[in-house]
Amino acid sequence: MSTTLPAVAFYLLAFAALYGAISMMSTRNVVHATVWLLEVMLATAGLYLVLDAEFLALVQVLVYAGAVAVLTLFTVMLTLRRREDAVRPFPTAWGSLAIAALFTGAMLLAIRGFCPVGVEMPAIAPGIEEFGRELFTTWMVPFEVASLVLLVALVGAVWWTGGDDR
């Protein structure tokens, strides 16, 4: 396959992700902001697909779009007393722009230090079998540490909401 089709897909998805991110920060309605966030997540999943990272794209949809976005919407809707409250009390665009610029700078430095830009893609993207083997052999300890961190966050959240005793 020529490189044109992935390039077109990449630019469309990149535009969708950036436009979604900007709209998310500039809209005053928090529910709309969550929907834009969802759009960004889906566009990111599409970018993974362009990179042949099929598994990563599906997990992105399943976890971020399917669970995190729903939870965010859920929290937003549960904390709103009236629909009029769905409006941000102050504009966040400039502050978020500053944070985004800082973050992009930091990431750019980190990535440049990590590997040279323009790494060649492997001829065949590894499938889930290779991925799983790699994850459970080479990356076993980091994987378990990550799941422990999530467990701690979960226990913390349960403690935070308070049981019947507290």
Binding site: L38, F55, L58, V61, A65, G66, A67, F74, M77, R83
Partner: protein
């Protein structure tokens, strides 16, 4: 045929299948529920009311499309699409036969679940954007239920992936070919190790498909119509078409995972090549059998309460599913090789 054209033909035929399913399933639902309730269901339009649904479709298409004054207009229009598109995409990985499938994905199982997991967002948005409390409550319930039960549903299919060694739905069907001791078909449902898994799968999939006894999102006795209260005309049609099509997809998944997909027991493989329509017909028939079973449950049991449902999901099904994964791993990778001497 060029690849692009083939893709378009595939997508169009999936849309056709989805619409046909919708029309037929509404009729079937009315008839099945009717007979379960010892009444006749639709009888007047066409023979045995067969054309009733066609009338309903025309009605839906020509009805006035109302938008409530206080609705959040943009989201009110967007929500039915967010509900509809993922349930359309969920068809893409289903294997109707060895060759007849829209895509052959190594991660087909995960793809179907990923597509279905987006549906609750649309339902939640539909409930919120219509700006009435019944809609919001219905949407909230539905989203809470479907998030909660996605976890046991995903966990419950992992033992099958472990045994068959692939997450490709076609591969899972291939792993079920043949017979045990030349008598019992090697479908996964005949494997006693997977029976608890099957129960977890059935309960969670009934919830994912939003079927009674777990359809709290639209409990008409307490929530008017739930998330769909304010929808009319074709937007209502899209929301419900997607619900029916999710039922079909979930049932098709159950058939693929546990009942050998398009396989007929004891039939040699050469038959499928000789009669190309055999496999898809068998697959669709099995799927419809599964759907009728789901509706049998629907017509028999009353709704459960939402807090009981949440307890069942988080406190019982998820731990049970986790135990089944560990058990399958131990049995399949440690004990079975001990007896057969094979190291898989």
């Amino acid at each position: 045929m060029s690849p692009a054209l083939a893709t378009i033909v595939k997508l169009l035929s999936i849309i056709a299948l989805m619409l046909t399913n919708g029309v037929f399933m509404i009729y079937l639902l009315r008839k099945v529920l009717g007979h379960l309730h010892i009444r006749l269901g639709p009888m007047h339009v066409g023979p045995h009311g067969l054309l009733q649904t066609m009338n309903d479709v025309i009605k839906l298409l020509t009805k006035e499309d109302l938008t409530p004054r206080i609705a959040d207009k943009a989201l009110f229009y967007l929500a039915p699409m967010i509900v509809f598109v993922p349930s359309f995409m969920a068809y893409l990985a289903l294997p109707f036969s060895d060759t007849l499938k829209a895509t052959s994905l190594e991660t087909g199982l995960l793809f179907t679940f990923a597509a279905l997991s987006v549906v609750p967002i649309g339902i939640l948005l539909a409930g919120w954007s219509s700006g009435n409390k019944w809609g919001l409550l219905g949407g909230m319930r539905s989203a809470a239920m479907q998030i909660a039960y996605e976890v046991p549903l995903l966990l419950s299919v992992l033992p099958i992936v472990m045994i068959s060694g692939t997450a490709d739905l076609g591969g899972i069907v291939d792993a079920q070919a043949g017979t045990w001791l030349a008598v019992v078909p090697r479908w996964f449902i005949t494997n006693p190790l997977l029976w608890p898994t099957f129960i977890i799968f059935v309960i969670s999939s009934l919830i994912e498909a939003n079927q009674t006894p777990f359809d709290m999102s639209e409990g008409e006795s307490e929530l008017v119509g739930g998330f769909g209260t304010d929808y009319s005309a074709m937007k209502f049609g899209l929301v419900y078409l997607s619900e029916f099509s999710n039922t079909f997809v979930i049932s098709a998944l159950g058939v693929t995972l546990f009942f050998g997909g398009w396989l007929v027991p004891w039939l040699p493989m050469s038959w499928y090549d000789a009669v190309p329509v055999l496999a898809p017909t068998v697959f669709i028939l099995k799927t419809y059998l599964g759907i009728v079973l789901m509706w049998w449950i629907r017509g028999t049991y009353p709704r459960v309460r939402i807090d009981q449902l949440m307890d069942l999901g988080w406190k019982r099904l998820i731990p049970a599913a986790l135990v089944m994964i560990v058990l399958t791993g131990v049995v399949d990778k440690l004990i079975v090789p001990l007896f057969t001497g094979a190291v898989s």
